[in-house]
């Protein structure tokens, strides 16, 4: 693909200013940045205060891990609606700086500096003014805490470089990083390639992994490779990543403004004043937009959401995403925007219900499309099942519908995990072991138990003399097991009242395993036994920390 534009031919990257409020989930909840606190979203840490980070709490950790590192940490649940609502105040305050504010997600927005820099006389003055505006807006929120961690500002050629400049810098305005025009490549060069993961969305992690294994650990090293070679080896994704790393242009290859007829509008009659109803309608509108775009082979990277009320009040906001805005992402943006407007402070709140919602694709790129299966991809049955799952998620809440993902492991409950259903084949989870994957030493042999108990039941395993059976350090049983002593009521499918016989008629094992002995937190040392009792039931029992439990039944 020699037709790929060389770096020097690219359009000049738009000089961009990025404002980021670090740990916005905490700020929105009114947490004092001086205390040890963290916010959990979907079971993982999404934000933590400085003192909590200082002892090792980091994003992406599980709650238990974080609490182990920092026992007295205050754990708060994430409130996305509140984040959006509070941030809308900041975003609209920035409207005094420039009308071209592009929101990314609650806590982060950007704008081109070309216009406002003339108004304020220089980038440094612009940065100082922006920091003042944001600081004043956050102070006005009166979030309860006396102080907030301040905002970060970065200015560079292209939104990618500017975002990183905001990340590496300190608290604005003094800590703001302004990369001089034309110097973005030099600024990016020493940064690790891992920063490419986020802008490339689902495709980034794999590419970054390959680059690191190739020894290309910095953006500079990756950018030094000729663009034709990158294109030949990594295709379109690689080309996007290479352009980001070179700092020439943040926009993916071939962006263009969308023709106006692609906008989707949803009239509401009667007017709606509830966000969930509007978001419900936005969902079908987002899908219609997605279909219109994909019928032309395009995908949306910047979206203009316009809302109008019965009294003629209008509110529009531009939303940009690092990757491509899919239907689910569009609905999130609509929800955030409405949350900020309808539930915002009384000064900005509209006086009547919404009568019109318009989604305008502001900037589009050629769609690479989702990777379908070799034989035709998603069938009608898949689509139907996906829609049903979406409906059940709407009924029971996110995370209620789960799909299997192959993890591999030594126990039946390790091998396949359940992960929340996010959508159909967007990124299909792996559901079988990798071809030629190495075996797990100490794994239980086939067949696997058909019932894996979510809450293992404590039991006793005794030998012929009634003495509890133990396993020594070499994995040898103290005596052959003779009987299982089940607790009074066991809901393992066997009712002790029916007088089922718990004498052991056959057994196999033990399979000892000592996993993660280097990690005091997740270490697990146990021995497993298969036991068949006289009533014909086969169970998998495990001994850990001196206690036998029934972990699974061969039902």
């Amino acid at each position: 693909m020699n037709g790929a534009p060389a770096a020097t031919d690219s359009p000049a990257a738009v000089r961009t200013l990025v404002v980021g409020c670090p740990d916005w989930p905490l700020t929105a909840l009114g947490v004092d940045p001086g205390e040890q606190a963290l916010v959990l979203g979907a079971g993982r840490v999404v934000a933590a205060t400085g003192p909590a980070r200082a002892v090792g709490v980091a994003r992406g950790q599980h709650r238990r891990e974080a609490q182990y590192l920092c026992p007295e940490v205050r754990v708060l649940a994430r409130d996305e609606a509140r984040e959006a609502r509070e941030f809308e105040v900041v975003a609209s305050a920035l409207g005094a700086v420039t009308p071209w504010v592009e929101a990314r997600c609650p806590g982060r927005c950007s704008f081109g500096v070309l216009g406002p820099v003339r108004l304020f006389g220089g980038e440094v003055a612009l940065v100082r003014h922006t920091a003042e505006v944001v600081g004043a807006a956050v102070d006005r929120l009166e979030l309860g805490a006396g102080s907030h961690p301040g905002c970060r500002i970065g200015v560079a050629d292209g939104a990618f470089a500017a975002g990183l400049a905001a990340r590496v810098g300190g608290v604005a305005p003094e800590g703001a990083v302004v990369v001089p025009p034309g110097r973005s490549p030099d600024f990016l060069a020493p940064l690790p390639v891992a920063v490419l993961t986020t802008p490339l969305a689902g495709r980034g992690a794999e590419l970054v992994d390959v680059l690191i294994r190739l020894g290309l650990t910095t953006l500079g090293a990756f950018a030094a490779i000729p663009v034709a070679d990158v294109s030949a080896r990594f295709g379109n994704d690689g080309l996007d990543a290479h352009r980001l790393a070179s700092g020439v242009d943040n926009r993916p290859v071939g962006h263009r403004s969308a023709p106006p007829d692609l906008a989707v509008s949803v009239p509401f009659d009667p007017p709606v004043d509830r966000i969930d109803r509007a978001a419900f309608a936005a969902r079908s509108a987002a899908e219609a937009l997605h279909e219109r775009l994909s019928a032309r082979g395009m995908a949306c990277t910047r979206l203009l959401v316009e809302v109008e009320t019965e009294h003629g009040e209008r509110m529009s906001r531009r939303w940009r995403d690092e990757g491509v805005l899919g239907p689910v992402a569009v609905v999130d943006r609509v929800r955030w925007q409405l949350e900020g407007w309808l539930h915002g402070p009384p000064a900005v709140r509209p006086t009547s219900g919404i009568v019109l919602l318009v989604l305008v694709p502001d900037e589009v790129v050629p769609a690479v499309g989702r990777q379908l299966g070799f034989w035709g991809g998603a069938s009608a049955a898949d689509e139907r099942a996906g829609r049903a799952c979406d409906r059940v998620v709407g009924l029971l809440g996110p995370g209620s519908v789960r799909v299997p993902e192959w993890r591999g492991g030594r126990d039946p409950d390790d091998q396949v995990a359940l992960v929340p259903f996010v959508g159909l084949t967007e990124s299909p989870t792996r559901v079988e072991p990798l071809e030629g994957a190495p075996p797990w030493p100490g794994a239980l042999p086939r067949p696997s138990p058909a019932a894996v108990h979510t809450e293992p039941v404590a039991i006793d395993v005794v030998d012929a003399g009634g003495v509890p059976v133990t396993v020594d350090g070499r994995g040898v049983l103290s005596a052959p097991p003779a009987r299982l002593v089940l607790p009074e009521r066991v809901s393992l499918g066997v009712d002790p009242d029916t007088g089922s016989d718990q004498r052991v008629t056959a057994w196999a094992g033990p399979w000892p395993v000592d996993e993660r002995w280097w990690d005091p937190l997740r270490r697990s040392r146990r021995a497993r036994l298969q036991i068949v009792t006289a009533d014909g039931t086969a169970r998998l029992v495990a001994l850990a920390d001196g206690q036998w439990t029934v972990v699974a039944t061969y039902d």
Binding site: L396, A451, D555
Partner: protein
């Protein structure tokens, strides 16, 4: 008007479409004069095909095989013609989960989806070994009894197999509505009754096909010589089925469920 019409063709195919098909019947302009001249008074006056007739004529033929879901070969003795769509299946006794997985395996391989509602202890590694295509399996934890029926109803019709094991006793009306929805949409509802619960106390509606697991014998290790290579290898179990479309004395088969590789096999 003396053209001879081939009499073998139905007249409705040869007639001109009625321009006033959308009017009430009494306002139709009927081509009565032509017919009376032909001297065949016995013919119906209205010769244009109605929408229903046309739909009947051009409807795609549904083969019997499309109204069944395929099952693995090991179950051929129990399902000579495959699993009929639209039925409610009950599976009870020790080994019910393995049997339910075996029932679903082949269908998932051929593109059907399975929803498992309220059976959070299903062994997914075992499901994989039995042959269930895990990419077409979704699991929902037991919903609140108030929402249980609407969750199951959402899946019935959207996926071909719905596996339920209600922790509560659904109302008779819910059971009847779900069964009717299954018949209408062609989904199969599999009700799992683990050992210790009889079908009568768990499911208030009618069960079309009831599987009962007989006494099971595990082979592999034994009490005397549990060597280092001993392990559970296979389970021999007699499965009997009764209900609609099954001879009165029932049908039964002896299976290895599972065999040493985890796959069900016929003995």
């Amino acid at each position: 008007m003396s053209r001879a019409l081939p009499s073998a063709l139905p007249r409705s195919l040869l007639a001109e479409p009625d321009l006033f098909d959308d009017l009430p019947p009494e306002e139709h302009s009927l081509p009565t004069h032509g017919l009376s001249e032909a001297g065949r008074p016995g013919l119906p006056l209205r010769v244009a095909p109605t929408l229903a007739e046309t739909a009947q004529r051009i409807r795609p033929t549904t083969l019997a095989v499309d109204r069944t879901l395929p099952v693995i070969e090991a179950l051929a003795g129990l399902f000579p013609d495959g699993l009929r769509r639209g039925v409610t299946v009950g599976v009870s006794g020790a080994g019910a989960r393995s049997m339910a997985l075996a029932l679903m395996a082949r269908a998932t391989q051929t593109g059907s989806w399975v929803a498992v509602v309220g059976t959070s202890d299903m062994g997914l590694a075992a499901a994989f070994e039995v042959g269930v295509a895990l990419e077409r399996l979704v699991v929902v934890n037991a919903p609140h009894p108030d929402q249980w029926a609407s969750v199951v109803a959402t899946f019935v019709g959207a996926v071909d197999l719905v596996l339920v094991s209600p922790g509560h006793r659904p109302s008779t009306g819910d059971a009847r509505r779900l069964a009717a929805r299954c018949r209408e949409r062609g989904s199969v509802l599999v009700c799992l009754f683990p050992e210790g619960r009889s079908p009568g106390e768990g499911w208030p509606g009618r069960i079309d096909l009831q599987f009962s697991m007989g006494a099971a014998t595990w082979s592999g290790p034994d009490a005397s010589s549990a060597g280092p290579l001993a392990r559970l290898r296979s389970r021999r179990v007699e499965v009997s089925v009764g209900g609609r479309g099954v001879p009165d004395d029932g049908r039964s088969d002896v299976l290895l469920l599972p065999d040493p590789t985890g796959v069900p096999a016929r003995l």
